[in-house]
């Protein structure tokens, strides 16, 4: 539609819309409306000339300045820009996801569940007797809270060996946060007489053996620990980690019985 009267009416009606994409879209919609109305009038009044139909159309549409003020109130510029920004952000996020998933094989949304208890079962199988324990221990260090609620006392009268198995629950303030592996590698145990429990094999790391045992949700992870007990009279240990001045000392005492 290139009629000058229509064009100047449209210019007046949309000039209050600051956000350019909105202005163009509204202008097109109004232009379509004007054209439809003009065509309808020409159809209803066949004797009417096209010029008369257009003039009548503009009369019926109303004052373009008033319409412009109402349109400007509806089409706020900041809303338009915010809409554009939200589209760009979503597009950027989708693009990043596409690149990431195409290129990164280690992606995982949910923490993996470790094979439950296979390591523990292998450790357990080395002892012939297993007695359930009730344990109480809890300590908060930094943003982590460590808790022990249960365990087992394993013994082998033939070999004269004994160990305590503990299920440690670690809670974090941040979702999916985990203690660094170095903490478990450097964890050692002191028995209730103050003796550091030595490694069972010469040249190996501290005595405490550990394995990740899955998660209990985004804020919780589980670690299985096996601590050898050279002294059969031991009724408690303190799990200690003090690398570079860190201060974790978790005293754990136990008594036999089911949880």
């Amino acid at each position: 539609m290139d009629d000058k009267a229509f064009q100047s009416w449209l210019d007046e009606a949309v000039k209050g819309i600051v956000f350019r994409p909105d202005r163009a879209a509204v202008r097109q919609e109004l232009a379509d409306h004007l054209e439809d109305k003009s065509r309808d009038l020409a159809r209803i009044f066949p004797n009417m000339t096209p010029q008369e139909a257009e003039e009548r159309t503009l009369e019926q549409m109303g004052d373009p300045a008033e319409i412009g003020r109402q349109l400007a109130r509806i089409h706020r510029p900041w809303l338009g820009w915010l809409w554009r920004v939200s589209q760009l952000l979503l597009a950027a996020a989708l693009l990043w996801a596409a690149l990431l998933l195409a290129d990164y094989s280690g992606y995982r949304l949910w923490p993996e569940q470790a094979a439950d208890s296979q390591w523990t079962a292998e450790q357990r199988a080395e002892f012939s007797q297993h007695r359930p324990l009730v344990c109480l221990a809890e300590q908060t260090v930094g943003q982590y809270t460590l808790r022990v609620r249960s365990g087992e006392l394993w013994s082998d009268p033939v070999r004269g060996s004994q160990a305590v198995y503990l299920r440690l629950e670690v809670r974090a303030d941040r979702p999916w946060a985990e203690l660094n592996q170095a903490v478990w590698d450097r964890l050692y145990a002191v028995d209730d007489r103050g003796n550091t429990i030595p490694a069972q094999k010469e040249g190996t790391a501290p005595a405490v053996a550990w394995e990740q045992a899955g998660t209990g949700g985004p804020f919780r992870s589980r670690i299985d620990l096996v601590v050898p007990l050279p002294d059969p009279a031991t009724a408690g240990v303190t799990l200690t980690y003090d690398w570079l001045g860190a201060e974790l000392a978790l005293p754990i005492s136990w008594k036999e019985g089911a949880v």
């Binding site: 952000l89 290129d103 280690g106 943003q143 979702p175 903490v183 690398w243 860190a246």
Partner: protein, 232 residues
């Protein structure tokens, strides 16, 4: 059967929907990439938290290494010091998300110790120089001289090995209580020895034995202490 139509959203509704979807997507990607930090310092502080250590102060960083997006750093804490590396995760052409690991660490309570900034991977980009730090010099020390002696064996072109002893020396002034030494290689022989000292295995030099000594002086030039140790 009625067909189901999603309600038509207003402009504000569409904005809210787009922002919520973008935020959810970014969160899912961040979680799925194991919650990497956005910055080098962020990655180091997070690693310290996960090691149950108090927050440290990043004293020195240097980019580069055998992998393109590594940053090596020296960090000083209240009771510890370490050198470590922060690696940008390769996330679809690399986007933020960095994770840190410790390279060498010492407690500040012991004798003056020595930390190497990095392994051999940084050597090429440093143009045959090796940066080391002493984070716990004696109290009152204002400067220090580090001397490294290395007994080396080189493989010559005729296949016969040749042995010799090289000495590297660096001086440093105390800054924030830390002495930063740079040992420089001036010849190709020294460069191959530095490479081997930093753990490189593919050069033509084998370090048979290496030890160091540090001599500290006060700002007025009086002796302030001495430390020595074995590197290899």
């Amino acid at each position: 059967m009625r067909s189901f139509h999603l309600p038509r959203l207003s402009r504000r509704g569409k904005i809210a929907r787009n922002l919520a979807l973008a935020a959810a997507l970014v969160l899912a990607l961040w979680v799925g990439t194991e919650r990497g930090s956005w910055t080098v310092n962020g990655a180091l502080r997070r690693m310290e938290q996960d090691l149950l250590l108090g927050p440290g102060q990043t004293i020195y960083t240097q980019r580069g290494g055998s992998l393109e997006n590594e940053t090596w750093a020296m960090v000083l804490g209240d009771s510890y010091a370490y050198t470590g590396v922060v690696q940008g995760r390769d996330l679809g052409r690399s986007f933020w998300s960095k994770t840190a690991s410790v390279y060498q660490a010492i407690s500040l309570e012991g004798e003056p110790g020595l930390l190497s900034l990095s392994s051999w991977g940084l050597l090429g980009q440093q143009q045959e120089s090796w940066r080391l730090f002493c984070p716990n010099g004696p109290e009152g020390a204002g400067s220090a001289v580090l001397t490294v002696s290395a007994r080396c064996r080189w493989e010559q072109e005729d296949g016969k090995p040749r042995e010799g002893t090289l000495r590297f020396q660096g001086t440093a002034q105390a800054q924030n209580g830390v002495f930063a030494f740079v040992l420089q290689a001036d010849t190709s022989e020294e460069a191959s020895a530095l490479f081997a000292l930093m753990g490189g295995l593919t050069g033509n030099c084998e370090v048979l034995q290496a030890d160091y000594q540090m001599d500290f002086t006060t700002p007025s030039g009086a002796p302030a202490g001495h430390a020595e140790g074995v590197l290899i």
